[in-house]
């Protein structure tokens, strides 16, 4: 035993860690590449405000961005959470579309009350999520392909429900407040829901044992399993959760827009996925809730500003595409390699 102490003593030469003074430390934190998104958000806001002083820095713009981005954000979180567990859920936007059309149709035909509509929206999301969960968790089908298939299934049902029309139901007044009201007169309610969900996800992922297990399963599935983590159960769980998130996003969209057709929600797919990958470089390495929100706001501000500058709508899709490609190139390669 003494020899071990001797061998330990050999290496006992703790050198000071290579970090400079405190002030330098603060600077390096502020200018860390993880905060690039926040900085860009500030810079974009200033540039747009200076060039469009009457149009951009207004209550209306803030409301528009936050309101628009709320649904995108909810869907982005619906992609991000499974992605952390190593599962790619591409079906979210179509499932949200199904939820949207179903809520509208039920309201139109049966005049259901708001609580029942909530149950319908979350229920249909959970059901679609369960289909993916069954295929991925039980029969080990590739998640990317499965969720694409389930998404197509959802789109089909939504088209059948809407039958090519725009459904415009008489929504319950509580639901209209739910979707169109404001907190403090400026923050649209949907954005508040987004913040609440983000905070919840952040709490679970970073501050609970469950979150650790989910993240471990996403990085090294076999090591996680050998540490006693029930990886399949996690896969099933995140896919069902993702379905519920999509159902909720559809409900919010219904309340926000007041009408539904089968092509509304699918348009949110690309911005949501762009936000997830851009968010994977923000605040923390890898996909994370608050990083996703930063990305959502950054994308929303960029698109809004470009449209104020008179860019046509195709510019926003193009912009999302550029962001997706750049962020996948920089941050997403490792992520995708794990999943496909």
């Amino acid at each position: 035993m003494t020899t071990l102490d001797a061998s330990g003593a050999v290496v006992e030469m703790p050198e000071p860690r290579g970090i400079g003074s405190k002030s330098l430390n603060v600077l390096s934190i502020v200018f860390n590449k993880r905060f690039v998104g926040l900085w860009l958000l500030v810079v974009l806001s200033i540039v747009f405000s200076l060039s469009e002083p009457t149009l951009f820095p207004t209550k209306l713009t803030v409301e528009a961005i936050l309101g628009n981005e709320a649904v995108i954000g909810l869907l982005a979180l619906g992609v991000m959470f499974p992605l952390i567990a190593g599962i790619f859920d591409l079906g979210i936007a179509w499932v949200a579309g199904l939820s949207l059309c179903l809520v509208a149709k039920m309201s139109l035909q049966h005049h259901f009350s708001f609580p029942i509509l909530i149950l319908i929206a979350l229920g249909v999301g959970a059901a679609m999520g369960s289909v993916s969960a069954l295929l991925v968790g039980k029969w080990k089908v590739n998640s990317l392909v499965t969720t694409l298939g389930v998404g197509s299934l959802a789109l089909g049902i939504a088209e059948w429900l809407a039958a090519g029309f725009s459904l415009t139901p008489q929504l319950p007044s509580t639901m209209i407040t739910f979707g169109q009201g404001h907190l403090f007169g400026i923050i649209p309610n949907p954005f508040v829901y987004l913040l609440v969900v983000t905070a919840l996800m952040y709490y679970v992922l970073e501050h609970t044992a469950l979150g650790r297990r989910i993240r471990a399963a996403g990085i090294n599935q076999e090591a996680a399993r050998l540490a006693g983590i029930r990886v399949r159960r996690i896969e099933v769980g995140v896919l069902i959760l993702s379905g519920i998130m999509s159902g909720f996003a559809g409900l919010v969209l219904a309340a926000q827009v007041g009408s539904a057709n089968s092509s509304t929600a699918p348009a949110y797919l690309l911005p949501a996925i762009s936000a997830v990958f851009l968010g994977a470089m923000q605040l923390k390495d890898g996909p994370n809730p608050w990083g996703t929100i930063v990305a959502v706001l950054l994308l929303g501000t960029g698109v809004e500003g470009l449209e104020l500058w008179g860019a046509s709508t195709w510019v926003s899709d193009f912009f999302n595409g550029v962001v997706l490609l750049i962020s996948v190139t920089i941050a997403g390669r490792g992520l995708l390699a794990r999943i496909t």
Partner: protein
Amino acid sequence: MTETLVAALEVESVSKSFGGRRVLSDFSMDIQPGEVHALVGHNGSGKSTFVKVMAGFHETGPEAKAAVSGQTLALGDPLEAQRLGLRFVFQDLGLFHGMSVVDNVALGSDYPRDVTGRIDWRKARSETKKLLQSLGYNIDVNSRVEKLSMVGRTGVALARALGTSTDETRVLVLDEPTAALPSRSVEDLFAMIRRLTSRGIGILYISHRLDEVLSISDRVTVLRDGKKIVTRNAADLTESSLIEHMIGSTLDESARASSERDQSVEPILIADDLHTKELRGVSFEVRAGEVLGFAGIEGSGRGEIAGALFGGIERTGTVTVDGQVVPPRRTDRSITAGMGLVPADRSRLGLVRGWSVQENLTLPLLRSSFRGWFLNKRSEKKECEIWIEQLDIKTNGAGDPIGSLSGGNQQKVMLARWLRAEPHVMILDEPTQGVDVGSIARIYSVVRDAAAAGTAFIVCSSDEDELVAVCDRVIILNRGRISQIVSGDDINVETIERASLQSLAMEGTS
């Protein structure tokens, strides 16, 4: 050594630091053509770092110089190292498990083409086959690498490193080439090394197995804390003098807890009629405080004992811990029943890369002291620091990424992970693979202490010396069955080797 020859490899003044910690300082060495030069040292002594510097994975300072056969090698450029004739076989072999042997070998050089530029598969297969045979391996070149034994995989890695144009190879670097090999095939590897040196290729041989180092090398260089301690002719060294150089003092070799187990005590783990791909009906029991070893050559089933018991792989047969039946493939139930597993392949099956030492250490047992609404990261860290101290884990802190630790220290983290859970039965699969002498002694002493406190151990190992050192009882497996059980003073290397080979020979005649 004929000094008139130009050195196959000459390096001077190589230094390297990571985050303020100096891992290699002013290191110089040379390898002559046809020479086997061994590099030995403690965990984190800088061996792996040196190899990575040579391979061009790490940058070094401008004062570092290197030359291959007299031609200057710009360090930090992997392609340049390859072009000048440096070849590497890394410890993890770096093979693509899902691809065929042909594909794996071709990734080192290229596929042969026919006149139209298409891959000439027939030629690729026959060339690969010939290459493997010239190295002494008889492997089906169409089979996927994951289906091969470790011996076969080593062969493929060697073939890929050397490529079809062996003539261009000046220096072959072998990093722990025997770590995963059964002792039977070590001689085959040595024969291959001798064939290569007879062609004038210099070998840099890195290993923790000192007996092998002394038998295969011409010269030995000892590294300690990133500094060269000595370079000597192997003939002038003994195992104990090497150990002295490596850790600066002699090792206490009396290892085994000699007391025989009282066989009347109720067994804590009962395995009944285990069947897996390799195992064909194996039954045994372990008692509290007992260290039970499993020996056997590659393919004997030794490699599947740990997975079969813990739930890592498919199995039939029953496993009972403390009277509780543990269902197959349910690692969570194994843990609640009181088992722990340190797997053989710690980077693939044990560690979560990118995570800190702390997060890796607490992974299987997050519920104990950290439950509540929030994980208490401070108390988690405090607990980890105690384990770091207790097992002498060399790291800057609990928050350091796991990848910054050397192999032996990563293994200690794995050990701490499970000791923390206070298991009744601890399964160790190849516990000291790629671990240095100092850490090995520490790991053994931890095993002995825990066993004395009542933990039962199951140690599966291809290293017979290890089994002799730590086990109260050793079960020798052969072709999936128990061929012999030895205990107490009857455990010795000869008996284990004979039992694992003898029955094989017998079966071979039938």
